[in-house]
Subunit: 213 residues, 4 copies
């Protein structure tokens, strides 16, 4: 099956990006302040690591679900996938920036960092939405969604992506509120991952499970 | 088979994490102290590299054995696997921290670093245990373990993970003793990897081979 | 199929290289100039990231198309593929160098950096061309190109690679003009990725779609 | 087939290691000496990059050939493979060390760095040899080598690995001579990769092609 290599490449990029997240946790070593103090100062770095790890993890789960429903891989899909990955690759950078600035209060810089972070997640969400939109047309999925289900599916999608857009606006005023908003998306998504029936898990209706992104 | 992508993604993350371990070995270059002296000072860095390399390697072998017995991949499994990977990704960071502080004696900082290291390995062990627990229920493995074998299997598991918990406590008093304790787990595990019969290697009883983690 | 591992290894290298591109975007953190100012100074870093991301992405798409038409994997192909990857791996380094020097005007250093960048892309293009040439001979592809189509295919190829050669020369005089030239190649390539018919997408004629590299 | 995941994990580790090689090429950026001068000073860094790239590439090609002849994957093989990867992961570190010290003449430090480099390559060669030895026993390969061919095969093997052992000794006196010796191994190996017949390429006799490592 041709989508194998699309999955392998995406898995590779996502795996490297998720592992690079931890590079930012490094402490300074012996001649510097006591380790416990340094770790305490890294509080936001750990928080941002955790949040980004699950944000990338969720995208991986959704990508997995969406791609396995695809019947045809064309160049358009390959490029839409590249756009998605373009934003995934930016997440370690955005995470490190947020971690660096959040530990110094709700300054203008912390809010700029948070807007950057929310913006990258929004870009990732839009990239994923573009692939989802692509699957709605032609004979591109194994079990195409009926046309009357397109708009409800899109609305759920926009509903999810709009949380990141909201976080982008909230970050203009309060970096911490935006962080909590994005964390709630991740928590909600993980909490609702109740075991679905095998039929659901394989049908195209399952892509509705991606709504929170 | 659907578990292919779960394996591919996990392999990717584990491969990147295991390769990043060596980044911490870098020496400072020409204008600094003689190379041999620097390498000697890096003694603990090499020791920690070796220990973490095999700790990750063992987890990979066990993950390989456990996942190939799985018949069904659902979202719960994907998220439990993410929790396991969350701790795997932290290992290079914990290794670098231990290496930085161990070379300055059994100071409070060295013990804090060691507690961090043992804690990350314990988290990894718990994440792996959660996947193992998941395999015990429903029709999730190709050859389910009979119910009466559940508790013995769990006990062996807890027995293994508890070495890391013990190392966490020991580290509070002596970082070097904790290091040796963790090293013994790895040595024991590698030493007992005697060629098992094909039947054992494929049956669910084989997951008992994971007890030391 | 034996080409599976060739693809897997290439995907791995390309995935790591494309993810390392973003390492260069890191800002300096709190005690330094305001974040927005730093991000503005990183303008060229973002531009170079975007350009290199799509340059690598295009090579991945073309590699995917070319390799899946191959019937036989021999050691010559494995080494030609290594030469291609040798240049792919250099792209993050060349990108970081360009980003560092472009933000200081059209200096001699900026032009040297741009020549390095165009040179690496040219090397990648030549490496890819060598694999393409290899596919023209013997019984190496599933649907061999007829001999009379070899020269037209080569000419299209040389036509594409020569844009990078031109950028190398232009960079001697103006780094920005060379950057725009390379960006036009990427834009042209992505724009022309109109949905091809399934027949075209699978036949060897499709490798003609690689002409812009 | 069970060896799929062994290959996938090894490919991942080798791909990351080969890509990290280029991290060491980074220049210092604008306020420092002219770029061309920095690149000239990086001469040995480029040389070491090239040599290590092909040393890892050759190991990948040989690993590919050897593993695809394997009929059975047991835990012993998984751990022997980990030992091989342990040394592969050290190559970027050893390469960076050699590059740092070679550019300052044939000093004691340069010779120590070169011994480290030759030692890591020797370790990799021994790790590969251990896997090869493992394939000679039991019913582990698809077409077992006849017993009378074991010693000739081993001798060719020792002949290859001994070049690295020789380089280790030579490095004690002259770092540059050791570098050239290792480079000759790579050049010889790539030069002799003449198209073998399909029968040879698939039979166990082909593992003889690994003698130079």
């Amino acid at each position: 099956m041709d989508r194998g290599r699309l999955e392998a490449f995406s898995d590779g990029v996502i795996a490297v990006a998720i592992t690079l997240l931890a590079l930012n946790l490094a402490v300074k070593g012996p001649p510097h302040p006591p380790l416990l103090e340094q770790l305490r100062e890294h509080g936001w770095a750990f928080g941002a690591y955790l949040l980004s790890f699950f944000a990338i993890g969720i995208i991986w789960v959704n990508h997995h679900t969406l791609i396995k429903s695809i019947a045809l891989v064309d160049r358009t899909l390959l490029f839409l996938n590249l756009v998605l990955l373009l934003f995934v690759v930016l997440i370690p950078f955005a995470t490190a920036t947020v971690a660096d600035y959040m530990s110094h209060g709700n300054s203008w810089d912390a809010r700029v960092a948070m807007m950057l972070y929310a913006g990258v997640l929004l870009g990732m969400s839009i990239g994923f939405g573009a692939i989802f939109e692509w699957t709605l047309h032609g004979e591109r999925t194994l079990q195409p969604l009926p046309p009357e289900a397109h708009w409800p599916a899109r609305l759920r999608f926009v509903g999810g992506g709009s949380v990141y857009a909201a976080a982008l606006v909230v970050a203009l005023f309060n970096a911490y509120a935006a962080f909590i908003l994005i964390a709630l998306v991740a928590v909600y998504y993980i909490a609702q991952r109740t075991p679905t029936s095998p039929a659901e898990a394989r049908g195209p209706g399952d892509t509705g499970g991606t709504e929170v992104l």
